[in-house]
Symmetry: D2
């Protein structure tokens, strides 16, 4: 249960079977930092090329293909005052041929007011001058090394995680990844101070983070897709295009989970899901989109054999 403080010196723009920067143990905690999507650190200096550069990979001793890796997000804190977002909507989220809003400038800068817990325009003006968006720091892109010795761009996502941009990946959440490579090879990056559903600008408010996480190896626990849980709910994540298919992956993964861990027959799992499921939309900007399939813990506590 060691706490490692790690200061990155290089970053990756793919999640793949790269040389680990640190070996950590089952139950260990890592305190580290991430640069923003453009490769800028807490000082605002560009220290690596842009494109969601990742800190890591961290080799988790004992994690083998066929296990599951639990990644608990202890703390995600923007570590500088100025964040930025793109200013214009992605053309794929509006009807084809819609003339797209021409933003005043390509980038919009935002000021973090950590005390008030909000982000405001760096240069407030016009109709949006009074905007104060509640800070909700989340990891946009993180995960483990993919299957089949692939190295996959941080611009997309798949079974291994990657650029999922789900607003639920906040501190206090535990995320579960299937392990494809020895040591799992954990990557973290792409912090967002605020983000709307879908990341439909192609960015949230992009900013560098202080990050703390704790890992656990769940031996022999298989999953096909990332999973997660927080105080209120459990969730499964599907990453694919179109949204329909992402939803299919997430739903299928949740069905498996309910059967394996909640004592439900396949028929009861379907019936429960039919009446209690909630979906959320992660990224709808990337080559792969993200859909989340959720069930609240209050409902699960009603199941026979579950502790309330």
């Amino acid at each position: 249960m060691t706490v490692h403080t790690f200061r990155p010196t290089h970053y990756w723009n793919t999640l793949g079977p790269h040389a680990p920067v640190l070996e950590i143990g089952d139950g260990d905690t890592v305190i580290t930092t991430t640069v923003d999507a453009a490769g800028r650190d807490h000082t605002g200096e560009r220290v690596t090329p842009g494109g969601n550069p990742q800190t890591g990979p961290f080799y988790v001793a004992g994690a083998e293909p066929g296990d599951m890796l639990a990644l608990h997000l202890n703390r995600l804190t923007p570590n500088r005052e100025r964040g930025w977002s793109l200013s214009g909507l992605a053309p794929n989220v509006v009807e084809p041929g819609t003339p797209l809003p021409k933003p005043g400038s390509h980038f919009t800068d935002w000021r973090m007011d950590l005390e008030a817990g909000v982000a405001r325009l760096w240069e407030p003006q016009g109709t949006l001058a009074g905007l104060a968006l509640p800070l909700a720091p989340m990891l946009g892109c993180f995960g483990v090394a993919p299957w089949g010795k692939q190295a996959i761009s941080t611009g997309t996502s798949a079974e291994h995680g990657g650029n999922m941009d789900y607003r639920g990946f906040v501190a206090g959440t535990t995320v579960y990844f299937p392990v494809f490579e020895p040591g799992a090879l954990v990557f973290v990056g792409d912090g967002h101070a605020v983000q709307g559903d879908g990341e439909i600008l192609g960015t949230g408010i992009e900013i560098s983070f202080d990050v703390e996480f704790t890992v656990r190896v769940l031996k022999g626990r298989r999953s096909g897709w990332p999973r997660g849980e927080n105080e209120r709910e459990i969730f499964a994540v599907g990453n694919a295009r179109p949204l329909d298919q992402a939803l299919q992956h997430a739903t299928t993964e949740m069905l498996s989970w309910l059967q394996a861990d909640y004592g439900l027959s396949d028929a009861d799992a379907g019936l429960l899901l039919g009446h209690a499921v909630r979906y959320e939309i992660g990224n709808v900007f990337d080559p792969a989109y993200t859909v989340i399939c959720k069930v609240d813990k209050q409902t699960l506590a009603q199941l026979a054999g579950q502790a309330a």
Copy 2:
């Protein structure tokens, strides 16, 4: 501002330019009933063929093509004790080839406990015996006559509404429809006592309803798709396949709304949406799927020129 009590004697399985059952005025209220998706009324008797039969249409005096019709849902109450749902998941919400849970029987019956505000299995047994799902009565299928003299099945949805199965269509919500036919021709039906997102069983808990709604004609207010609002948020609805396209329609409709009614330039509307949008998934079972694009009123209240 008349209150009409209307007792239906026949029902429609398409939304179309059908002969009105009642003419009502701008501001009037209608108290009526709907049968369940299988055509059964409050006594449980099948009074009309199944397939989301609709009560109506109600002709709203003064509503003309190019106007918008506001339909405020005052009250939606299950009016019998027993509801039913299908028991097995729709094959289109799981990965292709997934062996589907075989339910014990094709239908599952549910008991409404209006006092406790929950639905329970009619015959509680097995792992789900203790399930008590919070009642959240909503209209699954309702709307107005479509464009172009079409008569469209109550099994699907489009610009005119129809079978959207959005959990947000509860009492207290105002829904806005584009008007395509003189009198708008309002239809209501397909009450659900409880429903998971997506209606992934192909049903919620289907039951007959007592319904009360109030109409208002918004002269010359155009919209391309249904819209709505409740205490917390405004929302736009897109109905299409695949989900990606439903999301495009909903997002484009919301962009128009923000520009027309909230004093935002097109660029500012996009920027606001990018950071504040929330999506929900309505129906993912029908020929047309449904996506909802929402913005919360607290955020809108921060805009210059908006009353807090």
Copy 3:
């Protein structure tokens, strides 16, 4: 086996359970005309509102729900010299955000040279001046009344046919439709002198037609989707969005056909299709897209029990 000559006096913009214009018998032939997509007849005069207006419906004596209607296209001939097309690509066939070619004018006129069998620009100029596109007259929109008493716009397609825009619907082809209404109710319209795959301009070369077709009622022969055949091949048609789903419908329909009529087990039908299938793309412009699933008759002739 009567030959009826029918001169239309009104047209429909939906396919639905409308009052027949003529009752014809099993085996009868109809000689009639269609206006172009904008409602213009052989003189170029606009005689009805645009939007693929349909001639018909023709009531076929003896056709009942659950039968199949064979429609043999005997002759499709442009009956005036000037046709027209839209000039710019549909935004949904290019990558989102692609700046679309700005055409010189919204419409392009074309001259039919029936002798040479080609269409040329009405006003030849620039790089395209020498273009001589082989005439290949086809019906863009035709079919029967839909299921469930629906009236569906001629701007889209479904199980009943409609706006499929498949280049294979030329003279010499037999098209099979499921019958949903007594008399089937046959509609024909929307002639194209030339069309690229997908109708990606939103039009082919639109022109009025002389049309001759012969009907046959196939009692008790069920199909889920339109089918067809010509000298070289048999084909099944799926109409839906996205293309993936249209392809699923077409493939499933062909599987059923191979089993029912060619003595193949379900496994052999799949194996044959896997090695011999050809797909074509009909409309990719409408609310519903069209995919065609084909098998050539030479391959079918190799099956045991089939006449060579």
Copy 4:
């Protein structure tokens, strides 16, 4: 213009920035072999793990990011008598929930009759006993190293090529790839003796090949996606899900090509395409589907300034 004979000793299951096996010059020819999708060579022995193992990569001197690589397929010949295919249809090409044909066995063996130019069942029996499918040897999976230092599985495809399974990749065809890595890094593999459109069994008739190809570096010629040409037509390739998006990429790429090389304005390119485009469907089995956008050379020869 050297001719290299290369005998592979190891294979790759990703296309990525791997160490070259051979450096060749602009204009050089390579004579080599490929194993089948399961890793079996001309003797039928499994020499490497399955999953479309690739021969290569070949480093082409002078090829730099921003160039285009022309790969002319001189010769593709099955080099053993026995090929195999999967026996059952992929569940994603039929309507969700369709009970899938249960094949007699998981694999079907086929005998190459090179003299007669056909493939027959290894053990002819039943209705398919007389089947004689014309041999049409093609490369299923080939291409160059992807952008961004990715290593992408041979089970899918993208801008760099990969597992496209297009029946048009036969001998006599020239394929053009964008160059992302120095030397381009050419991979070839996954020979199919016969294949239906879409590779809807998940395989064609899989077999090892003798392969001969010639490379050319087109300095400074950019493309976004693979292109190709044969005697009759030019074509552009889009690889993505769903099919709609693959079609968008292919169409957009063809538009660029027509403007850059055929003297067409953007408007004229769109107009020409609208009337002359043909689409074909490559793979509909992989994570990325493939659509081909074609224009025939006879039509192009009619353009002003083009040699007939």
